[in-house]
């Protein structure tokens, strides 16, 4: 079994299963902070999936998308927690 087949048969399904687990927490989460954490972890796992996909496809062009996703994940976390804290602040 070559490395590309190993990535395609074993690694990518395990990552997809972990994405499903994170989505369960995203839909179930008791408070809105849990949903923000799940969204952040979803994007981080997406960057890992992009990395494995570059190995299976053989071209490293998609890594630029991972860079942008890392930027946007941090930006969305900061913005959501800022507005969440502003909402709880009285006057």
């Amino acid at each position: 079994m070559t490395l590309v087949e190993y990535c395609r048969i074993v690694i990518l399904p395990v990552l997809a299963f972990s994405v499903i687990l994170i989505l369960i927490r995203f839909f179930k989460g008791p408070s809105i902070a849990d949903r923000i954490v799940a969204l952040d972890l979803l994007i981080t796992t997406g960057i890992g999936i992009i990395g494995v996909y570059t190995i299976t496809s053989g071209s490293s062009t998609l890594l630029d998308t991972g860079m942008i996703l890392a930027l946007i994940a941090f930006l969305s976390t900061v913005a959501l927690s800022y507005y969440l804290e502003r909402r709880s602040k009285k006057k």
């Binding site: 972890l41 941090f74 969440l84 804290e85 009285k90």
Partner: protein, 130 residues
């Protein structure tokens, strides 16, 4: 070389899977934040390290290095912001947590952190009495 890359990628995948299981199993928002910022960052760092060893040229290595550096820089800041916001909106700690260092030190209205418990108990954020 391929075996080494396979081992690194398998370790990274295991850490990402453990982060997902921990996000399901952890009983508390703050413990979930700690799972998010430790295990997942290490897992994705190992996965991107495997990608850098697989392609083994300058452009791919620099791109993966930038992604990993950015994740390592922004994960603690984001975790601190979410933890602070969720402490203010009233998420309780797990009922078997031993101690809460912030109990009574955050002001409810002005969001100021004081270094000791003061004499205005109606303004203090206190999760033990809610």
């Amino acid at each position: 070389m391929n075996i080494f890359i396979g081992v690194v990628i398998t370790l990274g995948t295991l850490f990402v899977l453990l982060a997902a299981v921990g996000l399901i199993r952890m009983p508390d928002t703050y413990l979930r934040i700690s799972v998010n910022t430790k295990a997942a960052t290490l897992g994705v760092g190992l996965l991107l390290g495997g990608v850098a060893f697989y392609f083994y040229d300058l452009s791919t290595t620099s791109r993966t290095f930038v992604i990993v550096l950015f994740l390592f820089l922004t994960a603690p800041v984001g975790a601190h912001l979410i933890g602070r916001a969720s402490y203010f909106i009233g998420n309780k700690l797990w009922d078997q947590s031993k101690m809460d260092d912030l109990r009574g030190k955050y002001q409810r209205n002005s969001h100021v952190l004081k270094s000791e418990i003061d004499d205005t108990p109606e303004d203090n954020v206190d999760h033990t009495k809610m």
